[in-house]
């Protein structure tokens, strides 16, 4: 799942400072599941913005809608009839949402209400952790299900750096050193020898470094 955080209210308020009628759009996909952009969060943002405006003595009209997914044109199509009635639209979806919306409705101004952060999952309720960096060449099987690309601060592929200390990464006492975990797991499973195998330099062209990416499935394309 894509994990996001809501932007500070002040930042969102700045975006709409000269607009009086807005639409807040939630998304039923990842952002609902990570409790940042579903119906509930749309209501909270709506109320918060109205409180802020009332405090200034100005009125703000807010409509709310949460669509199935903001990353599919057909769902975006659902708001076609009314989308241009607003001074601005705030999207609570990941970064895909405001872009797809802008492409579909070039006359309207779309603002993102969330900062899209990473691919990850909930380790317990209210806590999400990064697990995948979308590098385009998965290597997880070499490391017993632990991805050094996403979870090593330096994305090292051949063991830890000198910053690994007591199981934690030098960048923070709260970030576990994934290489420490890989080594321990290999030891537990009696496969430490696997790590004697040198992993050659990773080809980062499949990752963001190769520029914007696209996936085409010929057999599906219409």
């Amino acid at each position: 799942m894509i994990v996001a955080d809501r932007k500070p209210l002040s930042e969102i308020l700045d975006m709409i400072t000269d607009r009086d009628k807005i639409l807040i759009m939630g998304c039923k996909g990842c952002v609902t599941v990570c409790n940042v952009g579903g119906v509930k969060e749309v209501q909270i943002l709506s109320s918060s913005l109205k409180i802020a405006r009332k405090k200034e003595g100005r009125s703000l009209t807010v409509d709310q809608i949460t669509i199935e997914r903001q990353c599919d044109p057909e769902y975006i199509e659902q708001v076609k009839a009314t989308i241009n009635d607003y001074d601005a639209v705030i999207s609570m979806a990941c970064g895909v949402g405001p872009q797809f919306l802008s492409e579909a409705y070039p006359q309207q101004k779309f603002f993102p209400a969330v900062n899209t952060k990473f691919f990850g999952g909930a380790t317990s309720h209210g806590i999400w952790e990064e697990r995948c960096a979308g590098c385009g060449t998965c290597v997880i099987h070499y490391f017993d299900g632990l991805c050094p690309v996403a979870r090593c601060s330096k994305s090292l592929m051949n063991g830890p750096c000198g910053g690994s200390s007591k199981g934690y990464c030098e960048i923070s006492k709260e970030v576990p050193c994934i290489w420490d975990m890989i080594v321990k797991k290999k030891m537990e499973q009696g496969r430490l020898d696997d790590l004697l195998c040198f992993t050659p330099a990773k080809n980062w062209r499949t990752s963001r470094d190769g520029g914007p990416r696209k996936s085409v499935r010929e057999e599906l394309a219409i």
């Binding site: 039923k28 609902t32 599941v33 990570c34 409790n35 940042v36 579903g38 119906v39 509930k40 309720h125």
Partner: protein
């Protein structure tokens, strides 16, 4: 009322005493198909527990946990509360008794009384308030406590001067000075005695200065002092000068374990724990650090979680525990109290305290003794009802059962267990008369208003002058008429009175009202009444909303009538706004499978299965091993000396012969699905997991038992002279010659109990050791017997054994946890035991021929079984009940019950009582064809559900699940209706019926005159 059945047995039961035990017994029986007459000598139900501040070991507020029970018993269609009454005589036989009652006058008609309290306001007489233990005053017209049931006033004729003021003030016309005692006769099939007990009166002792000094109080007085609704409103003060005490001493065993003054040799079982509780709560209440000291002989914390509670008091709260019996309390001039005492070190100490609390024990009252005599019930030497360990709730008279502290001194959960057990006992032989005398309400079909616009009727109550005397009720009424959707508004003198109820019904029909708002008192007390009224003419009970304009308005703002009027208008406007959005909620009922699964074939399981079968239902009895009987097969006798083996053999034979009992040996429980009323369980062979069988049942009782700890301490298993209790019982059974030949026998207590690893007391070992020691003494009177102990915990009447042991010359040596006895067996088979004597303060050595280790009692390991039922176990492995005080036999998951040692170590009589109690609790479910499910529950809109698992993770009861359907499922019968998932759901896919976002926001919006918008 209809009658059925051909014999002359009566389908109703009388319960005498409406304390917590009487209430529990009444509710169990009334919910299982019997009409209950609940008699109490006082003006309200509730008993002693209603006076308590908090309860151990959870420190729950006593009134909070008991008041829902008071309300339930008060409103029950099949419980007839007969207050102010005494049972005069009981004639006839079990199954068909005639009870003669004396109904003492109340002087205020409880049918007419609306508890408006005007009579109290005008009463010129003040009298001492007994409910507050005479620490406070009340009027001659009074109500026992604000949550009293029946909620009606009474006149204390002993102090009433007959001035007539209340009669004039009472607009309901409920006062009747000429009220006389009446006599009545009631036919019942059985009687449950739950009169409870009174506290020992310490004024008997002049050395404690109780009657001479106000700062010496009894424990019950101290409960009232601590209580937020007590005489000092929860502020910790001493009575003498209302100063905040800095030092308080608790003196234990006042009127207990004392044959000198009190003539009560027994232990009252509860005082150690309540003193610990009071000391901790007092420390919490105190604004400045409070020094709390408990002076005791043996600290008896033998119940579930009690030992840890004591640890918390000592280490966490800093309560001082001083092992010493204080002889004298000497009052000083400044209100202080000097105690002179000798602690274990032997020196004589003096210490001054600001207050002394006397931990008074239980004592059977004169009235109770007289009643027992009138009924022909045998009392034992301590004036408690005589019972056998193997039939712990049966009295000497057939058809008359006993529970609670009239049976023996005990705490609340034990009383509640026995109450349920007595309910099972009382109804067992009446099962053919089940539902024969119970009342049911015939109701018209509900009307469907879903297509109609809201048409709201508002009824504003004057409550005599309680509301109308402060707020301008006509103005509120006229205002209500102007609100949206309101088509009718009126005001009533008493909206709750019988004639107004009829009038409301008439007007609803005439005007086509489809939502009703009553502005009066609290929904807590009156909502069910109004809901019933509107239901009687076909309105769904949820089309009703209340505005609390008395308890939360005119009573609070008496001095500012204009504000009270304005607030009443606001509250009515808010109620009307919600009313417009109210929806009918369906009363969901589910069919019930009338059978019970019992897991575990020990005594508790056997008693449970037989109990279910004797109540007329099928029991599936599942046992993992290849024989029935469990742990009891290794025991010789109960604490009172009743032989166990013949009893267990009889149980097994009865169970095998009973055609309603299906026994599955060498069988384990596999998968469990379903909810209350309808479970489906897969049973599988212990030898062949592929050999499975599926059974359906409406309830389940887990009686999975326990076992004796096999000690790794003291060379156990390495030296034949070292035995455990079970080994010794076996040796006694086998007439082992070595026993008789022993010259020195030593019992070591707390082996594996009260340790770091197992921080609980195993409850039964002190008694077992003493009982075994007495048997050895009988075998060989010359034998020297030592019991090496930490605290002797012969709770309740079991103290008799301790007393007898001392008389027989059995010697008791105390040790501390850090300084346990040491056994040296290097010298071949010869044992050398060294222990430090607590009086001599020096080590003594002996060479015992026999050492008996009082090994801990452990729960059986059943991790996967408990997981199948989704029932919790605590850190010691014992099952966790729904509520430590009032639901000791239920699990939090409905339809599941527990009994026996799986719950906590306990003696056989206690296991039997709990097993019978579990039967009684299960009868509430399986005796019915259908079961109603609460309507205020969470429901999921699948279209909005993102299957995000938020509800699954946040439900306090693990009810929601996301299954193959791809969205969250919340079983209506499992949902408790708290709404936690509703307010967490990120997709707003869940709503809590009757408390939807729209309904809650409508109230807020209405307060600020904002038109409802969703």
């Amino acid at each position: 009322m209809s009658t059925k059945g051909t014999n002359n047995k009566v389908g109703s039961v009388m319960v005498v005493g409406a304390g917590v035990a009487g209430i529990q017994a009444s509710l169990d029986m009334a919910n299982a198909g019997y009409y209950v007459h609940l008699v109490d000598s006082s003006s309200s139900v509730g008993g002693l527990m209603a006076q308590l501040d908090k309860t151990f070991p959870t420190n729950d507020c006593a009134m909070c946990v008991i008041s829902p029970f008071l309300v339930e018993v008060g409103r029950h269609l099949n419980i007839n509360i007969i207050p102010n009454s005494e049972l005069e005589s009981l004639e006839g036989e079990a199954g068909a008794f005639t009870a003669k009652l004396k109904n003492n006058p109340r002087y205020i008609d409880s049918v007419k009384c609306t508890a408006c309290g005007q009579c109290r306001q005008v009463c010129p007489v003040t009298a001492v308030n007994e409910f507050d233990c005479r620490l406070d005053l009340r009027k001659a017209t009074f109500i026992k406590f604000p949550q009293a049931v029946p909620l009606s006033y009474t006149i204390d004729k002993n102090v009433c001067i007959g001035c007539g003021m209340c009669e004039k003030a009472c607009l309901a016309g409920a006062i009747s000075y000429s009220d006389q005692a009446r006599f009545s006769e009631i036919k019942v099939g059985a009687v449950v005695l739950a009169m409870g007990n009174e506290l020992f009166d310490p004024s008997l002792f002049d050395t404690y200065a109780y009657s001479r000094h106000p700062n010496v109080v009894t424990s019950l007085e101290f409960e009232r002092i601590l209580s937020a609704s007590g005489p000092y409103k929860g502020h910790l003060m001493r009575p003498y000068d209302r100063e905040v005490p800095q030092k308080i001493a608790w003196l234990q065993c006042i009127g207990s374990r004392d044959i000198n003054h009190a003539d009560h040799s027994y232990c009252s079982s509860v005082c150690c724990m309540y003193s610990i509780k009071q000391s901790m709560i007092a420390k919490e209440h105190a604004e400045t650090p409070l020094d709390a000291a408990i002076f005791y002989m043996d600290m008896r914390t033998h119940g579930k979680e009690f030992e840890r509670y004591r640890e918390r008091a000592e280490k966490g709260s800093g309560v001082r525990f001083i092992r010493s019996r204080v002889h004298t309390v000497e009052p000083l001039d400044d209100g202080g109290l000097k105690l002179k005492y000798i602690p274990e070190s032997g020196e004589v100490l003096e210490e001054v305290f600001d207050m002394v609390v006397l931990a008074a024990g239980f004592a059977t009252s004169k009235d109770t003794k007289a009643l027992a005599q009138r009924l022909g019930i045998n009392l034992n030497a301590h004036s408690y009802a005589q019972t056998s360990d193997l039939t712990p709730v049966s009295t000497s008279r057939e058809g008359v059962f006993v529970c609670g502290t009239f049976q023996s001194p005990k705490d609340i959960p034990q009383s509640v267990m026995e109450a349920s057990a007595a309910a099972a006992g009382a109804t067992q032989n009446l099962s053919e008369q089940r539902w024969s005398l119970t009342l049911t309400k015939e109701l018209p079909a509900e009307k469907n208003f879903s297509e109609e616009e809201p048409k709201i009727g508002v009824f504003v109550c004057n409550c005599g002058i309680n509301i109308g005397g402060v707020a301008d009720v006509p103005a509120v009424r006229e205002y209500a008429k102007t609100l949206p959707n309101v088509i009718h508004a009126e005001d009533n003198l008493f909206t709750c009175s019988q004639d107004t109820q009829e009038n409301i019904k008439k007007i609803i029909l005439e005007k086509g009202i489809n939502r009703v708002v009553v502005a009066s008192c609290s929904p807590r007390t009156h909502e069910p009444l109004f809901q019933e009224t509107i239901r009687e003419i076909g309105l769904n009970p949820y089309l009703f909303e209340m505005a609390n304009i008395r308890d939360q308005n005119t009573w609070v703002h008496m001095k500012t009538p204009q504000r009270a009027t304005d607030k009443a208008k606001d509250l009515v406007r808010m109620a009307v706004a919600k009313a417009a959005l109210l929806e009918s909620l369906p009363q969901v009922t589910l069919d019930v499978t009338q059978a019970v699964l019992v897991v575990g074939g020990g005594v508790a399981g056997l008693e449970a299965a037989l109990g279910v079968a004797r109540q007329g239902f099928v029991a599936f009895l599942v046992e993992r091993s290849n024989e029935l009987g469990g742990m009891a097969l290794g025991l010789n006798a109960t604490w009172q000396g009743e032989p166990v083996l013949p009893y267990v053999m009889q149980l097994i034979e009865d169970a095998k012969k009973n055609e309603r009992i299906k026994i599955f040996l060498e069988t384990e429980v596999g998968h469990v699905t379903g909810t209350i009323g309808n479970f489906t369980t897969t049973l599988k062979s212990a030898n062949n997991p592929l050999d499975t069988k599926v059974i359906n049942h409406g309830a389940a009782i887990l009686a999975t038992g326990g076992k004796e700890y096999k000690p790794h301490e003291y060379f156990y298993g390495k030296n034949p002279k070292i035995l455990t209790h079970f080994d010794l019982d076996a040796a006694v059974r086998n007439n082992d010659k070595a026993l008789k030949d022993s010259k020195i026998a030593v019992f070591i207590q707390c082996v594996g109990s009260r340790t770091e690893e197992r921080a609980y007391c195993s409850r039964v070992c002190c008694i077992h050791s003493i009982k075994s020691a007495l048997i050895l003494k009988k075998l060989n009177p010359e034998m020297q017997i030592f019991i090496i102990y930490r605290d002797i915990r012969t709770y309740g009447l079991r103290e008799d054994l301790y007393k007898e042991a001392r008389q027989q010359g059995i010697r008791f040596i105390r040790y501390n946890k850090d300084n346990p006895p040491v056994i040296d067996s290097d010298n071949g088979q010869e044992l050398k035991l060294t222990v430090k004597d607590h009086i001599l303060q020096r080590p003594i050595e002996m060479n015992p021929d026999l050492v008996v280790l009082a090994a801990a009692i452990l729960p059986n390991e059943n991790k996967t079984l408990f997981e199948h039922f989704k029932v919790p176990a605590n850190s010691d492995g014992f099952l966790v009940e729904a509520h430590a005080k009032l639901r000791p036999v239920d699990f939090a998951s409905e339809g599941l019950f527990l009994a026996g040692i799986a719950h906590y170590p306990k003696s056989i009589d206690e296991s039997i009582a709990q097993a019978k109690a579990a039967v009684s609790r299960a009868m509430r479910i399986v005796s019915k064809n259908t079961i109603a499910v609460d309507s205020v529950i969470a429901s999921v809109n699948p279209d909005r559900c993102a299957a995000c698992l938020t509800c699954v993770r946040t439900c306090p009861y693990n009810v929601p699940r996301v299954g193959e359907e791809g969205y969250a499922i919340i079983e209506p019968s499992d949902c408790h209706g708290c709404g936690c998932c509703v307010s967490e759901c990120p997709g707003k896919a869940i709503t809590l019926k009757h408390f939807t976002d729209d309904q809650i926001n409508a109230k807020t919006d209405a307060l600020f005159y904002i038109e409802a918008s969703c």
